[in-house]
Amino acid sequence: MIASEIRDEILDILGDIAPDEDLSNLADDKPFREQLELDSMDFLDIVMELRKRHRIQIPEEDYTHLASMGSTVAYLEPLMKDIAKK
């Protein structure tokens, strides 16, 4: 997957986790929490969905990389470069 595909995948996951939110204007450089009502259980949902969908294991010490869309995509790019878009 390339960066834009990873971004689409995260948006899809967020759509499941935060179904009441409008994700169309999500700014990549701002923390998710400043734009969406997400709590720690929601971030664990992002981690779990990546694990279930793509078998990606994200260690707890790396959770801080999931703060914004930009940082999430940057963190996932090397981990997902060999994963084909479904």
Binding site: A18, P19, D20, M41, M48, R51, K52, Q57
Partner: protein, 419 residues
């Protein structure tokens, strides 16, 4: 023995029902539900669940998004959602201005037959797809399966900071929730109780499979005919989901705010068979009924309607009828009906839903029937059993609601017309 007889108590100890919120397989508010009961409309339909396959169930079709966001619905449990809907409807029905209610003085007491089976089964099912690697087990599992979950979800939804918990009482739980709420009001632990019962049981295959293994799962070519307590051809239980929450208040508080009053708690009792895991004991059931009557300070013939517990099993129905013949031997004016014949067995919600379905009798003077009695089982013969068609009974003063459960828990609640 302590008495609960309303006339012997000060207004601060008298407990009244001032709101009813419910979802049943044949109605999503008291008006719809009552009309369905008087029309003879069943809520049982074809249903399929993993591993068990095609079966029958009482399925609710309430608008869950009326009181919950999509996110909260996804995060929570079906039992929580049922509870939130019923509580929201009860508060609206009670005419409470929720924003001005002191949330620390509200208590939530919901009866459950079981809780957590649905989520555990779902997680294990999903885990199988990951070769049982527990790294894929959901972090939502614990908050969804803790026993207080349904009541806790209601507290989160409503911002209630007073006590909340569930009451595990098998199929007597609906009555037990109401009783707990009344007790907490009398103790002064809360000023307003949201009390009743909830069930999500149709979403666990285990309950169907276990009843089937026990030879106690109903089947019938016509789903609406499957739940048939007292009929000679009854063949078991139709599992149902549902919920019913009552707003309970002390009479003094209800009067102060000019609340509409559905009825007044006149007496109640809970006792235990201590004889078998599943088989009922009619002697203990009769004692439970008698204890509730004694506490209410009334005689059997004062009861106008007995809402029976009967579930449609061969032995259970006959045993309850034996208990009723014993407890009501001296009364020829007490009518008996059964609500499970319409909606199936709503487990933790059953007691509360069945009581709610009868409350309008105080106003309309009708006793709804037990339907699907094509051939009355002689072992279930009660001379004043109201079969198949509702019956006008004139002014109804007292309703007694039976609810019994596994491990020998018995409960009876008596509600008096408020005049």
């Amino acid at each position: 023995m302590s008495t609960h007889a309303p006339d012997s108590l000060p207004d601060e100890q008298r407990i009244v029902i001032t709101g009813v919120g419910l979802t049943a397989p044949n109605g999503n508010n008291l008006t719809e539900y009552r009309q369905a009961l008087l029309r003879g409309q069943s809520g049982v339909s074809n249903y399929e669940i993993r591993y068990v396959g095609p079966t029958l169930a009482g399925v609710c079709k309430f608008d869950a998004l009326r009181y919950q966001s999509k996110k909260d619905l996804r995060r929570g449990t079906r039992a929580g959602s049922v509870g939130i809907y019923a509580a929201g409807e009860a508060i609206a029905d009670a005419g409470l201005e929720w924003s001005s209610v002191e949330k620390s003085r509200v208590g939530i007491y919901l009866g459950v037959t079981e809780h957590g089976n649905v989520e555990t089964e779902n997680e294990i099912f999903l885990l199988k797809g990951y070769d049982y690697d527990t790294a894929y087990w959901s972090h939502h599992h614990n908050p969804r399966t803790v026993a207080n979950n349904p009541a806790g979800e209601v507290s989160l939804n409503l911002g209630v900071t007073g006590p909340h918990y569930t009451i595990g009482a098998a199929c007597a739980a609906g009555n037990a929730g109401l009783i707990q709420g009344a007790q907490m009001l009398r103790l002064g632990d809360c000023d307003l109780a949201l009390a009743g019962g909830v069930s999500e049981s149709i979403h666990t295959f285990g309950i169907f499979a276990s009843f089937k293994a026990q030879g106690a799962l109903a089947s019938h070519a016509d789903p609406t005919k499957a739940s048939r307590p007292f009929d000679v051809n009854r063949n078991g239980i139709v599992v149902a989901e549902g919920g019913c929450v009552f707003v309970l208040e002390r009479l003094s508080d209800a009067r102060a705010r000019g609340a509409k009053i559905y009825g007044e708690l006149a007496g109640y009792a809970i006792n235990t068979d201590a004889t078998d895991f599943v088989l009922p004991n009619p002697d203990r059931q009769a004692e439970c009924i008698q204890l509730a009557l004694t506490r209410a300070g009334i005689a059997p013939r004062d009861i106008d309607i007995v809402s029976t517990h009967a579930t449609g099993t061969g032995q259970g129905d006959a045993q309850e009828c034996a208990a009723l013949r014993k407890a009501f031997a001296e009364s020829d004016k007490t009518f008996f009906n059964n609500t499970k014949s319409f909606i199936g067995h709503a487990m933790g919600a059953a007691g509360a839903l069945e009581l709610a379905g009868n409350l309008p009798s105080f106003v309309d003077g009708m006793c709804h029937a037990t339907i699907n009695v094509d051939e009355l089982d002689p072992d279930c013969a009660l001379t004043t059993l109201v079969t198949n068609e509702p019956r006008p009974i004139g002014q109804c003063e007292y309703i007694l609601n039976n609810s019994f459960g596994m491990l020998g828990i018995n409960s009876a609640v008596i509600i008096r017309r408020f005049a």
